[in-house]
Every structure is written in C-alpha cells, then in structure tokens.
C-alpha cells in the first residue's frame, strides 16, 4: 500500500464526476503525484483498483504525460531556466555551479535525497533573469552568492 487511504478516497470521490470512470485516470494520477512526488507501477495498480479500470490503461496514460516524474526526486526540485534571457545572464554557468556544489549530475538526485537539478524551458519570468523554480516557488535575479545562501538554508532545514 503506497497511496494513503485519504488519497484513495479523494480519487474515488472525484471519479463520480465523470460519466465514464476512465476519464478520472488523469486526475487520479495528479492526486497520486501530489502525495508521493512521483509515479510508479505499484501506484498505477492501486489507482486501477480504486477506479475499477485495467492496470494498463493507467500505465499508458501516465507514460503519455512526460511531465509526471516516474522516479523519486529530491525534496527540492530545482528547475533552472535555460532559455534566452536567463542564458544571456549566465544560467548555464549557474547550473554548472549548482551541480558542482551539490556533487550531482543533471537530472539526478543527490545521495541525501534533498536535491534534483534539471534545466527547463522558459518559465515566463524573463524580466528577473536568471531564475529558477524550486518545487512550486520562483527564485529570481539569482547570483552565485544567493544560490549559496539558499542551499545552506535548505540543507539546514532538511
């Protein structure tokens, strides 16, 4: 049992909104992702059971949407913008600095399960470049010192 009973009942409730239960697969995946931060086969199995659909239908939908992470990510999911405005103001250098400081590779998670660094496309904050999004929050007008400070804070907070 991976998903909590609370999430399962939320999924069950949500499914009632649709004339066809298959339509609830995507919201169900969102609930599962919200709770776990990623998706995997055992969650598909549980969602399939709650909704009464086939395992493969859930697995197909989840694999179709590439922005659902299929592996566990760090507690802080750092998405550095790599598009033109941020790039001109040194986002590439910033990414390399982050990776070096955290001792990890792009897309991989640090051993303490705290950080995952990825590069993403424009997040619509060009006026405050360079910028990054960490989980649901924007951090803008970044400098190396600012990044150092943030990392220290997160490490302390754990």
């Amino acid at each position: 049992m991976i998903l909590s009973n609370d999430t399962k009942s939320k999924i069950g409730e949500y499914a009632k909104k649709y004339p066809k239960v298959k339509s609830a697969i995507l919201p169900a995946l969102h609930y599962a992702y919200e709770e776990q931060g990623y998706l995997d086969d055992s969650m598909y199995e549980e969602i399939a059971q709650v909704l009464g659909v086939k395992f493969i239908e859930v697995a197909e939908a989840a694999s179709f949407y590439t922005m659902f992470p299929k592996q566990k990510r760090g507690k802080y999911y750092i998405q550095v913008c790599r598009n033109i405005s941020c790039a001109l103001l040194g986002s590439h250098h910033l990414t390399q600095y982050l990776l070096q400081k955290l001792g990890t590779k792009l897309g991989e998670t640090t051993k303490d399960h705290l950080f995952t660094v990825v590069e993403v496309e424009c997040l619509g904050s060009c006026c405050s470049a360079p910028m990054m999004q960490v989980n649901d929050k924007y951090y803008e007008n970044l400098t190396l010192a600012k990044v150092d400070q943030l990392i220290d804070e997160w490490r302390a907070a754990k």
């Binding site: 395992f55 493969i56 697995a59 197909e60 590439t66």
Partner: protein, 866 residues
C-alpha cells in the same frame, strides 16, 4: 436497399443510417486506403490516410469516422485528396526505416501498397530517423514481447490496431501503447508478456511489419505462396481459416473472416494448430505387426493382410464379432463412408464415435426419448441474447470464439453472464460475470435452487411463462431435498446469490444457456440436462445449447456414427431404404456403444475392429482398461495420422492424411456444414480417409466407386435430401445450416433425481479435467508454437490443499485413484477451490484417464508429495 444514397466519385451509392462514408464506399466496391480502421473496432481516425473530400465541408474528412448522410457528395481520389495522402505518408514515413527487403511483411504490407500508390519517392524531412534501440550491440531492433510475438518498434506507424484488438475485441489487457509521439512503444505491462489466447490476431492485423510471429517469420515470401480455404478442426466453433502453402508445405494459417462465425478473429490454437500436420510422429507408411513389432509395409501388403485376416475371421464368426470407432474430427464424408463400410461390407452395427464418455446412455438416446433436446442455437442467437448462462464449461478454452461473441454482447449490449461451475474460468475475468462457484458435483442443487428461488418469488409471473400453480407445487414436492436453503448449503453457493440469479433470469427477455465439455464428464449428465430444461422453463424466452466436444461431433451424430442410428438420424424403419441404396443386406439395426464394445471384447464376443482417426487408449475414461481390452483383439486395424497410444496396439496401421490434406465438410456446433479445401497433397504415403475406406471396401468385395469426398457427398445429398438440402458445390461459397429436428417440450417441470456425492476418506480430492492454457484436447501438443505457451503437463492444486500437503510450485507429486496413478509437477492455481485437483488432458505423459475407473462413478483421487 439503403436508407438513403450518397455519391462517391460520381457514382450513386446506397448507405444505411449509422454507416460511415468508408463503410458505404467499401460496400459499393470503392476502395479507400486504411491503416487504423478495422470493421470490428470502433473507428479512431488515428492514421489519417482515409482522408476524402466531401462537398460543403471546408476541410478533408476521415472517411472511417464520418457518418454518411443523405445526399453527401464524396470524392476519394481528387487531386486535393491525393496530395493530402502524400503528405500523410510523408509524415508516417518520416521515422519508418523502409527496410522492406528484410521485413517479413513485405508483399502484403498495407503501408507498402499505399506508399506505392500515393507516396512520394523522396522526403523533404532532413531530420535523422528516430530509432528504438533494443540492444546496443545489435543492428536489429527486434524485441520478443510474447512467446510467439516479436516487435520491431521502428516499423510501427502508431495506428493502435493491436492494442485496440487486444482491448476491444479480445477483452484482454496484455498489450498497451506507452509514451507518445515517435517515442510511442507497443509493450505488454511491466514483467508480463503478451500471451492471451487471441494474441496472434495482433500479428495478422498489424498493417506493417512491426508485429510478427516466429511461426511465419523469415521462412517464405508471401507472393510465393498459394492459399487454401480451410476450416479449423480444433473445436466445434468452426472458424474459417486460410492455409498459406509453398511446395506442399503449410507455412501459416490466418483468419478468413466469416461474418456468421468468427468475424475475422481466431484463437491461437487455430492459428498455430496446423503445425501438427508436419509433426514428427506422423505415420508415413502402412505398418504391419510382425512378432510384436510394427514394421513398415506397402499399401498392397497391408490391404492384402487385412483382406485375408478379415475373410478368415468372417468365415468363422458373424459380423457381430467386428466393431468400428471413429474420431469426431473426421469429415462428414469420412464418417458416412466409415459407417457404410462397417454396416454394409463388414456387417456390424457396433459403431461409435463417443469414445470419451463414461456413461452408457448419452445424449440423443436416453434424453431425446424424454423429449428434452437442445434448441437450435446459432451465433446469431448470441447476438440477440441479453443473458447467458454458462454451465459446467470452460468456454474460453473449449470454444474460444463463442466466448468472444458472448463477451462482445457484454460490451455492446450490456448482456449479463452467469457462470455455474465448480472451478473459476477465464470467461469470468473482466466481463462482470456472476460466478456461482459450487462444490464439485453439486451443479444439480444450484440449478434446482435457482428454479425454486424463481417460482417462490412473490413477483414471479407464472402465466407469462405458461406455468400453473399445480406444476409449481408438484415441482416443490418432487424436489424437497434440493429446495432453497438446502440447495445453498449443499452447493456452498449463497442463498442470496441464487435468488439474485433467479431474479435476473426471470427478468431477462432472451436467455441462451450453454453447457460444455465439463458437463459431459459429469456423473449426473442426464439429470443435469433435465434440470437445465427446468431452468429454461422459468425464462420468458430461453434456448439451450449443448456444445459438442469436437469439430465434427454434430456431423458424427447426424451421419450415423452411433450404434442405433442410420445416417440422417434415421431409425430401424429405414433399414430397407439403406439396403437398396447400398445394394446389399445390412446387419441388425441395434449395435453396441463404446462401453458395450469394450465389454464385448473383454468377454471375447468381439475379436476384430477398425479404429479410424481416434485414440481411445488416450481419452477413454479408463485408460488402463481400454489398453488391456484392445490388446486382446485378434485383428485391430488403425487408420490414423499419428502414432497414437492406440496405434501402438494395432496389427495393421494405415496412414491417414490430416485435415490439411483432405477435402471434405464438417459440421460445427450450430449445425453449419462447412467445406474445407485440401491445402496440400497427401504427405508421405498417406491417403485421404474416403480413399482408404473405398480401397478397403473394394478389397473386401464391395465397391461403391466413391473414393472422393464429392462422390460420397453426392450420395449423401441424394439419400438424405430432406436433412441435407445442400449440393456439394454450394459449400464452396458459404456453409449451410442443418436444421435439427425440433422437439415439443412436455408441460411442467422435469423431475430431477439426485444423490449427493459420497465423501471418500481414502481419496479425499475430486478430479477435474480441462485444458491447459493454449491447448485443447489431446492433439494440440503436436504444435510447437502452442508448446511455447504451456509446454509441460502439471498437476493443478488449490492453495489450501498445497498448503496442507506442504507442496509448492514445481514439486513432484503423485496423484492416485483406485484404478491408477500418475506423477507430475505441481502447480498451485489460486482460482481453484479446495479439494479439487485439476489435470490438463493435453499431454500424453500425464493422462488423466489413467485415474478414471470405469466402474467408479466419481473420480476421487489422493495427492502425495514425492
């Protein structure tokens, strides 16, 4: 004609309401290319190749998903359409490897054909092609995704026909499309393979070479082959097949869609079941037993030996010292010739085809006399029914295509399935079926309990089904031991479940009741038929179908392969008619059935026999007895295609051509008579059945001059015109249905007698026999492809029993009964109820009939770990 007309390419075409533009055009013979569309699947419009121009539509429309409307003007080949198709193909080919020379689909590939017709000879796309790499060290991108199926993702054009066939048409869940765009991958779920019973269809209907199977791959190019129309002989469903041959060898079998039967989908048993034709144990030449050993001989030697020995025996004994057994997979013409040979030439009425029955009086004899007969049910009735009752049958493995038809009813008409069985079967999976799982041997209690629940209900409208109060009270008085609370307790099925089923049956307007092979093995077969007839009485409209065992069981019944029946189901009064027809005297009308024959051999009354395409030692429910008894015969002539257990006992063996080498007709469970072409010439020194029987008759002094099936059928048609109103030539187009004689049911309920199965302390388990996955009956183990799915025999044990006996998967166990024992590897089957032992009947190393005692009414066994 149609409801309205549309215009396609300037031609007026009739269309029916609900039809799509594509369907209307195809029906009128106008071709529109398709990749993703299939007549049995819901259109999705995924491939865009069927784009057509429709007047007043601003954009091109997909013909497969656009409903036809009155007055529509459609152009399928206008310059705009051709250009659009070019564009679609350019995108489809953007990532297609164009490896036609090494692709197995080349020559029958939809993409190849359509590209040849519409495609450009260049591409404007500069991007490198995406390649799905399976193995970095290999230049091939093949991935084995099932025991038989290989995937090459690069060739895939993402039409999703395969995944839709698996889901929509076959109700399975072992293939899906993962990811999206050109990253899309067709794969089974993680840690699984595609191995459902219908999996071969995805290969047949893949429009490109993305899915291929080991069976056909890289063996022959399709344009070199010839095709022969055939009918599957593995079960009585009668699916239509095409055999693809080259140099007198069959390379594959595919579906030959028949709207009345299979609708283009066949099971893997039919698809790979042709391989047995080239089995290593084929009998190549006639054989004669000398000093206890079978040695090869010529036809001349074998026939002469039969002649001298039969003449010698006949001079001493009457025709009654002879017998004949014929297998129910033989053609109608072979069956007819065989019984004519025995009756007219040998002079005996001891003929039977029901070699695996334990009870003496069976269907057609005892039961018809009590005026209970199955109704004339056809596939069309399945399409009309709203409730199905499947009694004592593993329909999925015994009649896979009938099961598919039923499941289709569940999906498209919300039909309900009620399964009454002592073990759970695959039909119940994902069909929302009501499973009444009862204790072994208590089916009668379940059936009678349901009838009681119905008639006792306050809402039961007895006048609607023509029942009177008196009949109901008589029913209750006659069955005091089987009424509701007792029936539920006896069978282990919940009382409320019985009531719910009764309620849904009474409310259904159209019920079809199926009973199958498990049923014929039950000790209470006839009583159960009476109880099923009672069940039929409580429904507004219900039909009862008894599914026969083999592909031509219905033909055997019809054409006189039974002892007390002349061809056409005629009785003793037809004797003089057949004496005229066959120009000679016939023996006494009544003869012995299978059990009677064996008993008579045992008592030295019968000394000589002919066994044609049958293996009683392997399937008769007391294998040791059949073996010992047949050994006693002075002369045993076996005509068979394979070296069977029975053939080993023979004094003379004549090699018989298989179904693929023999022209003829067979009658499926509906009573539909269908014609099979011979795909190849007889292999080795074998001969087709009719020719062998004519040779034997001729050698023994009575020539009929009918060595060819068409000649035999000519006589059948002449003499049985009232039953078989079809000429031989007519089969070449489509089968004809033989109408069973109708029986008037007597009013009221039947009285059902029942004795509970006594418990056996020494042998506490109950033996059930069935089919392993991808096998059916005793012949399928000769097909290598099917052995990939289930290759080894096993002893199926329930979880409870396995735990109690401390047995786990793969352990060597001994199964014993009072008459014999077998040894095999255990397999724990979660769905099996406690105290039930399941043995597949498909493997010669583990024959369940060795455990069955002829004198024992029930098959009690004991399992021990070795």
């Amino acid at each position: 004609m149609g409801d309205f007309n549309i215009t396609v390419n300037g031609k007026t075409v009739p269309a029916v309401k609900g039809q799509t533009v594509l369907q209307a055009a195809l029906a009128a013979g106008i071709d529109i290319p398709v990749f993703c569309w299939h007549p049995q699947l819901v259109p999705v419009g995924a491939c865009r190749i069927c784009l057509v121009e429709i007047e007043k539509f601003p954009k091109l429309q997909v013909a497969c998903a656009t409903p036809a409307a009155d007055g529509m003007v459609v152009m399928t080949e206008s310059p705009k359409v051709v250009k659009a198709r070019q564009g679609v193909l350019e995108f489809i080919l953007a990532h297609h490897p164009l490896d036609c020379p090494t692709c197995d689909k080349g020559g029958e590939c939809d993409l190849q054909d359509v590209t040849f017709k519409y495609g450009l000879d260049y591409s404007r796309l500069q991007e490198p092609k995406h390649r799905n790499i399976v193995d970095e060290n290999s230049t091939f991108d093949d991935l084995q995704i099932g025991p038989e199926i290989i995937r090459n993702q690069n060739r895939c054009i993402h039409c999703y026909r395969c995944t839709r066939i698996v889901d929509e048409a076959c109700f399975e869940d072992d293939l899906g499309a993962y990811q999206r765009g050109y990253h899309t991958e067709i794969l089974p779920p993680p840690h699984r393979e595609i191995r459902n019973l219908y999996s071969g269809n995805v290969v047949e209907y893949c429009p490109v070479g993305a899915l291929t199977n080991d069976d056909w791959r890289y063996k022959v190019r399709v344009w070199l082959t010839k095709q022969a129309k055939s009918v599957c002989t593995h079960c009585p469903d009668g699916c239509n097949l095409t055999h693809w041959t080259f140099h007198n060898k069959i390379f594959r079998a595919t579906s030959r869609p028949n709207e009345n039967i299979d609708r283009g989908f066949i099971c893997d048993i039919g698809r790979y079941g042709y391989q047995q034709v080239a089995s290593s144990d084929r009998l190549k030449q006639p054989m004669i037993k000398k000093n206890g050993e079978l040695i090869e001989a010529t036809w001349e030697e074998a026939l002469n030996l039969i002649k001298t020995q039969v003449s010698e025996l006949k001079s001493k004994l009457s025709g009654n010292a002879f017998f004949g057994l014929i297998g129910e997979t033989s053609t109608n013409e072979e069956i007819y010739s065989f019984q004519r040979f025995l009756r007219r030439v040998i002079g005996t009425s001891h003929i039977d085809s029901r070699i695996n029955r334990k009870r003496r009086l069976t269907f057609g004899e005892e039961v018809t006399s009590r005026a209970i007969a199955p109704d004339h049910v056809s596939y069309q009735d399945i399409d009309k029914a709203d409730t199905f009752v499947v009694y004592a049958s593993d329909l999925h493995s015994e009649n896979p295509i009938t099961a598919l038809r039923i499941k289709r009813g569940v999906r498209y008409r919300d039909a309900k399935i009620i399964i009454i069985n002592s073990r759970s079967t695959h039909l119940g999976v994902r069909t929302g079926a009501t499973n009444l799982l009862h204790k072994p041997g208590t089916g009668l209690a379940v059936l009678t309990g349901i009838v009681d629940a119905a008639v006792s209900s306050t809402t039961f409208d007895k006048s609607a089904v023509g029942l009177s109060d008196q009949q109901i009270s008589e029913f209750k008085q006659a069955h005091t031991e089987l009424l509701l609370p007792k029936a539920a307790a006896m069978s282990g099925v919940g009382e409320s479940d019985l009531r719910a089923v009764a309620d849904s049956l009474v409310r259904s307007s159209n019920v079809v009741i199926f009973c199958g092979a498990d049923f014929s093995r039950y000790p209470y077969r006839d009583e159960e038929l009476l109880a099923l007839d009672n069940l039929r009485r409580i429904c507004k409209s219900a039909k009862l179908a008894v599914l026969p065992e083999s592909s031509n069981s219905v033909g055997a019944e019809l054409l006189g392969a039974y002892p007390n029946q002349y061809p056409g189901g005629k009785g003793s009064d037809a004797k003089s008619k057949f004496e005229d027809l066959w120009r000679g005297p016939l023996p006494d009308f009544s003869g012995k059935d299978m059990i009677g024959i064996l008993e008579a051999i045992n008592e030295d009354e019968i000394e000589c026999g002919f066994i044609f395409n049958a293996d009683p030692v392997r399937v008769f429910p007391d294998g040791n007895y059949a073996d010992a008894v047949l050994e006693k015969l002075k002369l045993l002539v076996v005509v068979d295609s394979f070296m069977t257990e029975t053939a080993r006992l023979a004094d003379v063996i004549l090699p018989l051509s298989t179904f693929a080498e023999t022209e003829g007709t067979r009658t499926n469970w509906e009573g539909r008579i269908q014609y099979t072409q011979s795909a190849i010439k007889p292999m080795f020194d074998s001969k087709p059945g009719c020719e062998i029987l004519e040779l034997l008759a001729d050698r023994l002094g009575v020539s009929f001059g009918q060595g060819r099936p068409s000649e035999v059928y000519g006589e059948l048609n002449k003499s049985l015109g009232d039953v078989l109103p079809v000429r031989y030539e007519m089969f070449k187009s489509e089968g004809a249905i033989y109408d069973r004689p109708k029986h008037q049911p007597k009013p009221g309920f039947n009285r059902v007698a029942y004795n509970a199965i006594p418990s056996d302390r020494e042998y506490p388990n109950f033996l059930t026999v069935g089919n392993a996955d991808h096998h059916r009956g005793p012949n399928t183990e000769r097909n290598p492809s099917l052995l990939k799915f289930t290759g080894d025999p096993f002893v199926g044990l329930s979880e409870i029993d396995a735990k109690e006996l401390m047995i786990s998967d793969g352990d060597l166990v001994k199964v014993e009964s009072r008459t014999g024992k077998v040894v095999g590897n255990a397999r724990v089957i979660a769905e099996l109820p406690g105290k039930v032992v399941f043995l597949p009947e498909n493997f010669r190393e583990l024959r369940p009939n060795l455990l069955m005692g002829l004198k024992e009414k029930f098959d009690h066994v004991k399992v021990t770990k070795m």
